[in-house]
């Protein structure tokens, strides 16, 4: 046993897979410690806040400031409201409105702005201009007008007693606060999802649920597969015929079709995460049965098994001591594959709207499903779905790697 383990851990592939998997598991344990709380809690009111650190605007007003004189600060400020394409559009409008533009360069901001302010009028309807374009110019004009030109910005407050507006503080262009000093900041490494939930927190939790689903599905499938395979292989005869008959039927009917039909007939309120896991397990045992059976058949007539039989050992004991240890490595490998395909199956079911009941626990499939329903893939909210795909692929990749590693350990002919 010790020796086998050592061998296993000498396989580069296994170790690589194991490390990835261990990393995912570690994240699942550690991250909730750093960032505790309900993963389904809605923190954002809107949908799909992008990843990054958010600083409370309210608190910054009261935070101690430092003065920095940065040379490019003004340029950056301007670039934020007036991009190069905005300049092109401004020139286009002015040209259309037949304003004399001779001697005005695109980069001469001051002159361009002067001309714009002097000539722009939103009531002028230029020929061939669509509503969308008109709206664009109105917006551009507003943002140019709203951009504060003064060096100081005054924050005011309403006195609750007198209802008078009082000056609270003045903010200089050169005022900076240290993010560490602000009372409230929130870092969302993966932003928020359609419900305004912290995606990373949800992902970590979903990862746990999905691995659990995979494990349950794998256990169920491996258990059924092993049991039927052992019985069919060891007993032979009628038991074998019956079991193989059933197995063959379920080999040919695509398991995904069965999965859809069963999940569908269960109805949404019956589908908890565990139920879904069991259903997945119930539809994916056939290949384990087949392989276990063929392995058992080849073991059945080995000398040590015959010896046990002659010694009058019980069926249970023969199977446990003389057969199981010989196929254990195979069963472990099959189990790992079942787990990873279980996780995949849950994700696919959820995407069809046949996954576990929503909003009780997050699963990878449900996260994916919600992201798709809110068309995250179309509106550029990559953080809502891409990490999910990556996680599913990562889990499944790590398991496949471990499996290949094990394969090479147990089948010396496959070794490099």
């Amino acid at each position: 046993m010790k020796n086998t383990l050592r061998q296993v851990f000498h396989s580069g592939k296994f170790v690589a897979g194991f490390c990835i998997f261990a990393f995912i598991l570690l994240m699942m344990i550690i991250y909730p410690l750093i960032n505790p709380g309900n993963p389904l809690e809605r923190i954002g009111v809107g949908t799909f806040a992008k990843p990054g650190t958010y600083v409370s605007l309210y608190d910054t007003v009261d935070t101690e400031t430092e003065t920095f004189k940065l040379a490019d600060a003004d340029d950056k400020r301007l670039a934020k409201i007036l991009s190069d394409s905005d300049r092109v559009s401004m020139v286009e409008w002015l040209t259309q409105a037949e304003v004399d533009l001779t001697g005005v360069s695109m980069n001469d901001t001051e002159k361009l702005l002067d001309l714009w302010h002097a000539n722009y009028d939103d009531s002028i309807r230029l020929k061939g201009m669509t509503k969308a374009q008109r709206n664009y110019y109105v917006r551009l004009n507003n943002s140019l007008n709203n951009a504060s030109k003064a060096d100081t910005l005054t924050v005011t407050d309403v006195d609750p007693d007198t209802n008078e507006v009082v000056e609270k503080t003045k903010i200089q262009k050169t005022d900076y606060v240290n993010v560490g000093d602000v009372a409230n900041t929130k870092t969302l490494p993966l932003g928020t999802d359609n419900f305004g939930r912290d995606v990373l927190k949800e992902l970590v939790s979903a990862c746990g649920t999905s691995i659990m689903i995979g494990l349950i599905a794998g256990l169920v499938a491996t258990f059924i597969g092993l049991l039927l395979g052992l019985l069919a292989g060891y007993l032979g005869g009628v038991a074998d015929d019956i079991i193989m008959f059933i197995t063959n039927i379920f080999t040919v009917i695509p398991s995904f079709v069965l999965l859809i039909l069963i999940s569908y007939s269960l109805g949404q309120d019956q589908r908890g995460a565990t139920t879904v896991a069991i259903v997945i397990g119930l539809t994916s045992w056939v290949w384990t049965t087949r392989s276990v059976r063929s392995q058992v058949i080849s073991l059945r007539n080995r000398d040590h098994v015959n010896l046990s039989k002659l010694s009058g050992h019980s069926l249970m004991r023969i199977i446990m001591t003389d057969i199981l240890p010989y196929i254990a490595s195979y069963v472990v490998m099959a189990f790992i594959l079942q787990v990873s395909s279980g996780i995949l199956a849950e994700a696919q079911l959820s995407l069809l709207g046949l996954g576990p009941k929503t909003t009780e626990v997050p699963t990878l499939g449900l996260m994916m499903n919600w992201a798709m329903l809110y068309s995250a893939h179309l509106n550029g909210s990559w953080w809502a779905y891409f990490p999910v795909i990556l996680t599913i692929a990562g889990i499944s990749f790590s398991m496949n790697l471990m499996n290949t590693g094990l394969d090479q350990v147990f089948n010396p002919t496959l070794r490099d």
Binding site: P254, Y264, S340
Partner: protein, 334 residues
């Protein structure tokens, strides 16, 4: 040849039994669902009328039409009878359209998408796997983990990534549908071009994943065969390397042929989801809308069609396989 005929008859009987079981499952499972689609149709029809007896009459009428008031067993019998006369019933959600009509317009899209994709993926995958096993070194070091990773990506994930990258961001491929939005189906080059360009992304999303899986499988089979005793013996005899490699890969291919049959069964599940992502008008999309609308005649029909497709392919491959490899045939007679 006599042995082959025996094998053949045995297979036919065997597939017939499986077909019946599949039929029964397809019939029973969706009907276990708690929804009453007939009530839904009548509901829409009599909405607003306060005359309860009128509503009940309409309800009975549709029960009669769909046969839902009869005992399960009789319904099953009618279902089978209709099925053999080529009638799969009426869709609930798209009433009064017939299921036949819906399925027949969808099925060709699915077949034309899936079959070539699976076969191409299988061919490329096996080629790469064999090369990896033969060349080893750098090629294998890169290809092996890459294939493994590719095969680990869920089909819908691959579809979404391709969609976002090529269609939404790079805009080199259309985002959805089976042909241009401004096209009318006809047999012109323009139309065919449009169909092919819409075909790209769904096609590659299936191919890429199956390449991964097949390459991994072929690689280990080939390595296994390359290390086999007969190879060492042949080398010892001084037989040309090229000739040995030929034998090795032919032997390694055999299990991969069953692999093809299998992958057709398992791939379909994943590929159906890919269809949904690309709004490809195939069976996957039909099944998706049927599931959301609790339209069980349509659900039964789509799952049945898929099962039949898999059955036929498995059956054909079984036959071909027995022809290629006599050992299989022999094994069947144990």
């Amino acid at each position: 040849m006599k042995g082959y005929r025996k094998y053949f008859t045995k297979k036919v009987i065997w597939f017939a039994i499986t077909f019946v079981v599949a039929l029964a499952l397809n019939f029973i499972l969706p009907r276990l669902m708690p929804a009453d689609p007939v009530a839904a149709i009548t509901g829409r029809l009599v909405s607003g009328s306060s005359d309860a007896t009128a509503a009940a009459k309409v309800y009975e009428h549709y029960q009669e039409e769909f046969g839902t008031n009869k005992p399960m067993l009789e319904q099953f019998w009618i279902y089978i009878k209709n099925l053999f006369s080529g009638n799969m019933g009426t869709s609930f959600s798209q009433y009064p359209r017939s299921v036949n009509e819906i399925i027949s317009s969808a099925i060709w899209w699915t077949i034309c998408l899936q079959l070539p994709a699976i076969i191409v993926g299988w061919l490329i995958g096996n080629l790469l796997g064999a090369l990896a096993a033969y060349i080893r070194k750098g090629f294998d070091k890169v290809l092996m983990p890459l294939s493994l990773f590719l095969s680990s990506i869920p089909a819908f994930g691959m579809a979404v990534i391709l969609l976002v990258f090529f269609a939404v961001n790079l805009k080199v491929a259309p985002v959805s549908g089976a042909y241009g939005f401004d096209m009318i189906p006809n047999l012109s080059w323009k139309f065919i071009g449009s169909v092919i360009s819409h075909y790209q992304l769904p096609f590659w999303s299936i191919v890429l994943i199956s390449i991964g899986g097949q390459a991994v499988g072929m690689r280990s089979m080939s390595i296994y065969e390359l290390n086999a005793d007969y190879v060492k013996y042949a080398r010892f005899l001084g037989i040309k390397d090229r000739k040995i490699v030929g034998y090795v890969f032919r032997n390694a291919m055999l299990p991969q042929v069953t692999g093809l049959a299998l992958s057709i069964g398992t791939m379909i599940g994943g590929a159906l989801v890919a269809e949904i992502i690309f709004s490809y008008p195939g069976l996957g999309s039909v099944m998706y809308s049927a599931v959301t609308a609790a339209d069980y005649p349509l659900i039964s029909a789509t799952t049945l069609i898929i099962t039949i497709m898999v059955l036929i392919v498995t059956f054909l491959l079984d036959l071909v396989y027995a022809l290629i490899d006599p050992r299989v045939k022999a094994a069947q007679f144990d």
